[in-house]
């Protein structure tokens, strides 16, 4: 069983489109995150949720809207996609705020 699973793994889309990435964790963790990894492999946190409550919002454009329907799920919706949004988006979860992160396999988004 995959601990943190993301879908889809690959997304290729045109500028201006809207897309969503889904994430689910079966570890029973309270906290979930979205990280963005750019082409230089730099990992940057975007959002975190704890028990469905938004904890961190790292000055991400409001075209990005996370949604956590329950503590096992954290989805990411992106409106009006731009070329600069091309990246790998990783979902992650942790048991405690200082605990290790369990990452999903990533969703590679390519905006043409």
């Amino acid at each position: 069983d995959t601990a943190v699973s993301q879908t889809p793994k690959y997304l290729v889309t045109q500028m201006g489109n809207d897309k969503s990435i889904k994430c689910e964790q079966n570890l029973g963790h309270d906290t979930m995150y979205w990280y963005k990894q750019d082409s230089k492999k730099f990992l940057k946190i975007m959002f975190s949720y704890n028990n469905k409550e938004l904890i961190i919002n790292e000055t991400v454009p409001n075209r990005f809207s996370p949604k956590s329907p329950d503590k096992a799920h954290l989805n990411l919706h992106i409106n009006s996609l731009e070329l600069g949004d091309s990246a790998v988006y990783f979902c992650a979860s942790s048991q405690a705020f200082t605990g290790e992160l369990f990452f999903g396999e990533g969703s590679r988004l390519t905006v043409l």
Binding site: L43, I56, F97, F103
Partner: protein, 113 residues
């Protein structure tokens, strides 16, 4: 804001040689974590260090946390081709406890067989 820097950015070694990556934070860290990301893969947690001066070993990997809790290192003895990947250090910013981690830019290790 807080920065976490890693050097070197890239390292090519011959199989059997040792490898070290260094991590420096602009501020004191409450803890530091290390992750490994294989090519095309996702980051995988390796270890967390909490105490000043702490040293932990995992087989051929040795992790150190500096006395001032502002720097850390990962040393691999006698590298193998399975060690290939990017190694990231990460630490929480400031004293707030939100789960946020600031990642270093990573050191990518290539091992020639």
């Amino acid at each position: 804001g807080q920065q976490v820097m890693q050097i070197p950015q890239y390292q090519h070694v011959q199989e059997g040689e040792d490898f070290t990556t260094y991590c420096n934070s602009s501020t004191t860290l409450s803890n530091i974590q290390w992750y490994k990301q294989r090519p095309g893969g996702h980051p995988v947690f390796l270890i967390q260090l909490v105490k000043s001066g702490e040293v932990k070993k995992q087989k051929r990997l040795t992790f150190q946390f500096g006395e001032a809790k502002k720097n850390s290192s990962l040393h691999i003895t006698a590298t193998q081709t399975t060690d290939v990947g990017t190694y990231f250090c990460a630490g929480p910013p400031g004293s707030g406890n939100t789960g946020k981690l600031i990642f270093g830019q990573g050191t990518t290790l290539q091992v020639k067989p």
